[in-house]
Symmetry: C2
Subunit: 352 residues, 2 copies
């Protein structure tokens, strides 16, 4: 029996995606070759990456709006650096909203490439909320935000209005709900949470924000390098991109981000209701900032941990241990998580 | 029937590796979860990456000699930049041997980060040979060479003796033969030719060459970042690393690089003998510099191309078209290529 997989990332994938990916590893597109044995420049793989790009623009409703879609290596961690190379002039300043560990890592690279201005921080309360009502000073090259904080279980509900490029790390909630994606100028997301397997990072960039910094950008750090070659400047992570294509198609097939949001909202409500109504549990994140993707909670009585862990294990629940910086539990219920698995977790919580 | 796959990269994998990889995508290590659904920090995946690192040191006979093994994203193309970040001081100079397209790309990044000194070049004859007898000036931060030139089908047989760190791009011939790997201080290789699937790059670095440049190195560009976290600083390409682990185990199981070399030499001799003895064909690379990995050749009479291509297609031969900069044909016969497939190609050449 398959486990109920609450892993924070790499994380659950739709069953149909896993089966199609495994089949393609054996024989891709009736080529009598494995997916991972054929050239990334073959017509068959070219069709895969083009389809993944088209599906991305469709799901984001960004077709014909001047955006390019890339699938790059190095994870979101490399994007922290790459976005600064492309958007931050030497001696320039960029605004960062500090909502946790991942924001901090992005800020670190900005400070190597120029200067970060921390617009606001929720560090004072252990990152359990999203700062609001902060001022955005003049003269910033861009503003950077993390839309969902995997570790702390918080999510930005209202994005700031800015008159400079708005950059968002959407690694842990991309395509989990309907958004006006045209508010953003650069969106990036490691694939391994909501749209695929590790090894590739989705980058959606509005082309007209590029080429403004006069900086000499190393070849692989330059978005234009990858745009000019349609993400095939070098050999990309073929398997990972294939899995993302399948995953994006799966989201489209079930009705796109509008239907995805309804499903995700039901899952989140089921679990948060149990946390709020079961005296054995307490939520970590401020209610108005709760993430529908990463649900962080703890026991009200630590002595019940052994029994809860045992019940969860017996029910086939995988990976609900919280991040070491928060403790307690974290249930990651990304796009691919079926509500039936959330119900199993809720049943275990009720049985405690 | 499976094709005879002469693709230059991504390229052929051992059948057993493909089958094990596909099975792990369905159920990894009896976890009742897919390989690509579990945390890169799970004990099960930790065992995979540790095994891949150990196998690398074993095959290279570098255990206990001060080397670290990393599996990084971004391909060899990112290494062109990353090695310069780590080894080239600002305003420093590094020596590069120019043996073709990939050397040129490495040189380009060195010139962004400092200054390249081209030690010698075979550009004068379309890169069909390896320069020899060149001088290496004093004062270089390192010397960089490309051990095998995929596009032109040349291979370095004797590596230069230098008293500065020797850096080698071994993407297209790593672990294809026995070498004194301790001659090198930094070895890197995109996995998708001789040791796996695309999405990960093997880096073997002698630790004592690092931290000499006084340069501020962005986090993801710094080898020390990845060394300190055993290649798990960020979520790596889990599937690609797993495939490399399987592939390295396959090389070890058949007897390591010594046996691998015997097999590769037999395959290369079979194909080069046909090129030399069949009046319909002519080799591209200088005989003494021929690569046993990428065999480049052409028809002596271009009018026979249509018939040759038809015969090859009918025999199930895949991807022998030469690179556009060389023309003609290229048969890539990497580690995983069985001699039976080379025989099929030779039979087609005989039948022309």
């Amino acid at each position: 029996m398959k486990k109920h997989n609450f892993s924070a990332g790499p994380s659950i994938l739709p069953d149909s995606v896993i089966k199609q990916a495994a089949a393609a590893v054996l024989n891709f597109d009736n080529m009598d070759l494995s997916l991972v044995e054929v050239s990334h420049r073959s017509p068959q793989f070219d069709a895969v990456i083009k389809k993944a790009q088209k599906l991305t623009l469709e799901l984001a409703d960004l077709e014909g709006k001047g955006y390019e879609v890339l699938f790059l290596g190095g994870g979101a961690s490399l994007q922290f650096l790459m976005l600064a190379f492309n958007l931050l002039p030497e001696n320039g300043k960029a605004g960062y909203l500090d909502t946790g560990v991942w924001s901090k890592k992005a800020i670190k690279e900005a400070d190597i490439m120029g200067e970060s201005v921390v617009l606001a921080s929720s560090k004072d309360k252990g990152y359990n909320y999203i700062p609001k009502g902060y001022n955005i000073p003049e003269g910033l090259a861009y503003v950077h935000i993390t839309s969902n904080n995997t570790i702390f279980g918080t999510q930005i509900k209202d994005f700031p209005n800015v008159d400079v490029p708005l950059v968002v790390d959407m690694s842990s909630d991309i395509f989990s709900k309907k958004l006006d994606f045209s508010k953003f100028d650069l969106i990036y997301a490691g694939a391994q949470k909501n749209i695929g397997a590790s090894g590739t990072t989705l980058v959606i960039v509005k082309k007209d924000i590029l080429d403004k910094t006069k900086r000499t950008i190393p070849t692989m750090m330059n978005y234009q390098t990858h745009i000019s070659k349609d993400s095939l400047f070098h050999t990309p992570a073929v398997f990972s991109i294939y899995v993302s294509m399948l995953y994006l198609q799966w989201v489209k097939d079930l009705g796109g981000v509008v239907e995805m949001e309804k499903i995700n909202d039901k899952k989140a409500a089921l679990l948060y209701d149990e946390i709020d109504n079961n005296p054995n549990f307490i939520g970590f994140a401020a209610k108005e900032d709760r993430s529908p993707m990463n649900v962080t909670f703890n026991l009200t009585d630590a002595s019940k941990a052994e029994r809860f862990n045992k019940l969860a294990l017996e029910a086939g629940i995988h990976a609900i241990k919280g991040h070491r910086s928060v403790g307690g539990y974290r249930a990651s219920i990304y796009n691919a998580m079926p509500i039936e698995s959330v119900q199993v977790l809720v049943d275990v919580m009720k049985a405690l």
